[in-house]
């Protein structure tokens, strides 16, 4: 099956879900989500049956990279994320309905839920396209497909002020960053005369290239991309948006959007790094951004009291580690060192497992516990040992404890930095990782240490129900985290 069929199938699936929502008279709109999940599972299977074109001559292949194993991996990340986001969305439906449904008579009691299930599928198609984009135009189009979908999804809880506020912030800043991106693209086109990444790379590798103009283009693009992946000092939207958005959408932003941002980052930075004139300066800028991101993300995460906000800063911190890998890209002469593409891709694979696991727990807990404050998790170990265990595994992995997937990610990054002699960055990274021990384990204090007698309210302790799909997903993710933590090859073979 030709590779671009994948995106076509996903878009069709999204349209199908919308049609079912509009025309089929169904009582329980959860079935729309089931359609999406089953369809995406089929797409995931099809990822392994992809046939690459024999020649990449046609006009289409100027926009869509041919024969690119790593893009399949990123498509897989998009599909898995979307499936798990749909699982979370189903668990989250009561809150969506409560904050969107029309109180007028005659409306479907679950009106508004159908689109909440269908939109992530469209975003997924955009993410998949982004993984294969090899042209400034297709990069831009796919990026905006995703971003515009997210504008809607973040604001989805229209009767919730927090969600609206998050949406407006995201919209304004997102539009601004898009402006930077387009401006940068324009400069890049002006310097190289091409929209195609391969041709841009060969133009930039020319030692006669106008380096001032190229660096200006790079700076503009960097601003936009740092915004997308949450790199400091363009990360200020992240805590507010993550906290205000519906939790499944926060997870989607945190994993899908970040992964897609990084593949674009890798593709756009590649041409600049290939140039001897530019590489050194670019690595310096990247190192500075990585350092600030690590400091801001990790230190700001420590005092957080809201769990979603803490996860938002943690996502900034992880962006810092990923940028650290990019900033430690080996110079051309270095043979046999880790490639940033490999390290970033592995890191994102591991990051997907642990972040989605946390958000699955958060969404499930949210059904039984009213708040998202860290203190409101008091006594979770008693109410649901299963969830408490899942949470501690995910936190251990995020903190980078050995024998979990997160540790290898950090180890690869530190190894790269050490190989390149980036000592300052390495020390900042270590401080970041050390503070991670504190803020990730902080959640264990209310979950495990608080006794019910600390509560004082005398509330009856009930167990927390976990829906079957969420339970299955959590177990699969946990097993994957530990298995990858022992044998990283499980992920690496998927993309090399």
């Amino acid at each position: 099956m030709p590779v671009y069929f994948l995106e076509i199938i996903v878009v069709t699936l999204g349209l199908l879900m919308l049609m079912v929502d509009a025309f089929a008279k169904i009582e329980d709109k959860r079935s729309i989500a089931w359609i999406g999940m089953v369809g995406l599972l089929v797409v995931f299977g099809l990822l392994f049956a992809v046939k690459w074109p024999e020649s990449a001559d046609g006009a289409f292949w100027q926009f869509y990279s041919a024969n690119d194993q790593i893009s399949l991996f990123y498509k897989g990340i998009a599909v898995i994320t979307t499936i798990i986001v749909l699982i979370m969305a189903v668990d989250f439906r009561h809150i969506v309905v409560a904050q969107t449904a029309d109180p007028e008579k005659g409306a479907h009691p679950q009106s508004g839920l159908g689109e909440f299930f269908a939109l992530p599928v469209f975003a997924c198609a955009g993410l998949m396209l982004m993984a294969s984009a090899n042209n400034l135009v297709s990069i831009f189009v796919s990026l905006e497909t995703v971003t515009i979908t997210f504008y809607i999804l973040v604001t989805y809880l229209r009767r919730n002020v927090g969600s609206l506020e998050a949406g407006v912030k995201y919209l304004i800043l997102g539009a601004l960053s898009t402006g930077f991106l387009v401006y940068g693209f324009a400069w890049l086109f002006g310097i190289t005369g091409s929209m195609q990444l391969a041709e841009i790379a060969s133009s930039l590798a020319d030692p006669e290239v106008n380096s001032a103009a190229a660096l200006f283009a790079f700076a503009l693009i960097l601003v936009a991309l740092a915004f997308k992946v949450g790199g400091a000092p363009f990360h200020f939207w992240i805590p507010d948006v993550y906290q205000g958005a519906p939790t499944p959408i926060t997870a989607f932003l945190s994993v899908g959007s970040k992964a897609a941002g990084f593949i674009i980052f890798l593709r756009l930075i590649g041409p600049f790094l290939a140039s001897d004139v530019l590489a050194e300066k670019i690595c310096l800028v990247l190192a500075a951004i990585a350092g600030i991101t690590l400091i801001m993300g990790n230190l700001a995460a420590m005092p957080q009291k809201n769990f979603k906000r803490l996860l938002a800063y943690s996502s900034v911190a992880h962006a810092g580690f990923l940028l650290m890998a990019l900033a430690s890209a080996p110079t051309k002469s270095a043979v046999g060192s880790l490639s940033p593409a490999m390290v970033v891709t592995f890191y994102l694979g591991a990051y997907l497992l642990m972040t989605l696991l946390v958000f699955l727990v958060v969404t499930t807990v949210r059904n039984s516990i009213a708040g998202e404050e860290i203190d409101s998790y008091k006594g979770l170990a008693k109410r649901s040992p299963f969830l408490a265990f899942m949470l501690i595994i995910a936190m251990a992995s995020l903190a980078g404890i050995p024998l979990t997937a997160g540790f290898y990610g950090k180890l690869f990054v530190f190894k790269m930095a050490a190989d390149q002699g980036n000592w300052t960055l390495l020390i900042i990274g270590l401080i970041g990782a050390a503070s991670g021990f504190y803020y990730y384990l902080k959640i264990a204090v209310p979950v495990f240490f608080a006794t019910s007698s600390d509560d004082g309210s005398g509330e009856e302790i009930s167990s927390i129900p976990v829906s079957a799909p969420a339970r299955v997903a959590m177990i699969i993710l946990t097993v994957a985290i530990i298995a990858v933590g022992v044998n990283p090859n499980l992920i690496i073979t998927l993309f090399s």
Partner: protein
């Protein structure tokens, strides 16, 4: 599966089974009994006639990649790791035996035993690994369980603070260690994580001496934090005092030895000239452990803290053995790691029992209870003698070796190390002072009015105490039991160091 793989994975699988709902104490107990039996079997199978190479090796390659050292899940034993394996297995069984029964725990008995098995299994894995990555990774397995154990089941009102202190302290230590290990592996060519191959590389094509000094310094600080080397010791005593008894036994008895094991197995062979350059620093720090911490120990007013500080203090002797850098000193250090591990576990087991029965461990609230608990008093006396280094116990044999090893070479003139040895000898006096003082204020003298007799130790507690005591005395009378394993392995390390 090789016997070592079973030894390492059995506790982890048992922990999983407990997590899934199997009867906690029964599973934990059977797992640790099986581990001890298999460790003894591997000690019997271990051949002392083969010179020094790793035995019972099993290797499963995991990762071969450009720019990253090859990684494999591999286990193997030499004489030093065998002794550490035996120590871990014995202390783990004793720790499970003294743990309260499920119904005696107010909450979460599953988590209690699960954490215990993870801590023990991590130690077993670390000592059996011949791959640097897993040596590091298995040790870290204890980090979160320790945090949870102290936070949930610990004693004292500031246990939360203590739980954080030990977690952050050890977390930071392990990160420093990680950087040291990455540098060492990169400096040695960055082609493998296999410790034997790295050791061979280090003697064939050693790192530049400045690089060695950096690597050794990072490893010394990283491992030193785990060992509570002065001045990185401040986490240890409060943590042991707050921790539940079996955790204190495992941590002070076994996990702490991991840092020393790492110095012997990794830091010395990889960066020998770095070790030489920093020798005087080490001597200074170890005197800090022996003399300064020794005096701090004397000043303690409760048994648990005193034991905590005493275990910090004794690390100084082991460092002295390492600093000696000869066969006698190094094998004495390994033997002392075993002897100290067993004796401190024994002491913590009894202090835990006393805390539970009498509700306090303050010296001025206890007294004269020797009449109420004569059997415990007897065992405590033995353990105190062992800890103070009296003949008949493993610690004595080991300390003698350490002192003679460190003093060797005096005929060619007194160096720093000979002076350090002489000062260290005062540590023996200090140990005797605080141990005997503790014994007197707990077991002798008049009984304060408030103390009621709880009855002497039952077989539940007596059994683990006797197991530990037997190990201590067997090695004390016939040190050759362990020395036959230690000596060839030490020779290999010394040849590598050169």
């Amino acid at each position: 599966m090789s016997i070592l793989e079973i030894i390492v994975f059995l506790p982890l699988l048992a922990a999983l089974a407990i997590g899934l709902g199997a009867p906690a104490r029964f599973i934990a107990l059977s797992a640790s009994v099986l581990v001890l039996i298999m460790s003894l079997v591997s000690a019997i199978q271990f051949s002392t006639s083969i010179e020094g190479t790793m035995q019972m090796v099993s290797t499963r390659p995991l990762l071969e990649m450009d720019g990253f050292p090859s990684l494999s899940l591999s286990f193997g034993l030499d004489g030093i790791s065998l002794v550490m394996l035996l120590l871990s297995a014995i202390v783990m069984l004793a720790a499970v035996l003294v743990s309260p029964k499920e119904e005696e725990l107010e909450r979460n008995p599953r988590l209690y035993y699960l954490s215990l098995l993870l801590i023990g299994g991590g130690a077993l894995g670390a000592f059996c690994s011949t791959d640097l990555f897993f040596l590091y990774a298995f040790h870290e397995l204890a980090l979160i369980p320790t945090f949870l154990m102290i936070g949930i089941f610990g004693a004292g009102s500031d246990r939360l603070k203590t739980a954080w202190t030990i977690t952050i302290y050890l977390g930071v230590g392990s990160l420093i260690l990680l950087v040291g290990l990455i540098l060492a592996v990169s400096g040695l060519g960055g082609s493998t994580f296999n410790i034997e191959e790295l050791t061979a590389l280090a003697s064939e094509s050693p790192m530049a001496s400045q690089m060695q000094a950096w690597v050794f310094l990072l490893l010394l600080v990283g491992f030193g934090i785990l060992v509570s080397l002065f001045p990185f010791h401040s986490w240890a005593a409060p943590a042991y005092a707050a921790a539940p008894t079996p955790v204190a036994m495992l941590h002070a008895g076994v996990l702490k030895k991991f840092g020393l094991y790492g110095i012997i197995r990794v830091a010395l062979p990889f960066a020998p000239s770095g070790a030489e350059a920093l020798l005087n620093v080490i001597l200074f720090l170890l005197l800090g452990n022996i003399i300064y911490i020794g005096l701090v120990t004397i000043a303690q007013k409760s048994l648990d803290r005193m034991l905590g500080y005493s275990s910090v203090m004794h690390m100084g002797y082991i460092f002295l053995g390492l600093a000696a850098g000869n066969e006698l000193g190094l094998s004495g250090a390994v033997l002392l790691m075993f002897g100290h591990g067993i004796s401190i576990a024994l002491l913590f087991a009894m202090s835990g029992w006393l805390r539970e029965k009498y509700g306090t461990l303050d010296f001025d609230k206890l007294g004269g209870i020797g009449k109420q608990v004569p059997k415990l008093a007897l065992i405590f006396g033995f353990a105190a003698f062992a800890s103070a280094g009296l003949p008949g116990f493993a610690n004595f044999a080991a300390e003698i070796e350490v002192f003679i090893g460190a003093f060797a070479g005096a005929e060619d003139g007194f160096g720093w190390i000979q002076w350090a040895t002489i000062i260290s000898l005062w540590g023996v006096v200090i140990s005797a002072v605080y141990m005997l003082r503790a014994y007197r204020s707990i077991f002798m003298g008049p009984i304060p009015k408030k103390v009621e007799a709880p009855g002497d130790v039952g077989w539940n507690t007596r059994l683990p105490l006797l197991i530990l005591l037997a190990a201590l005395m067997a090695v004390g009378f016939v040190p050759e039991i362990l020395n036959q394993y230690i000596r060839p392995a030490v020779m290999v390390i010394l040849t590598a160091v050169g």
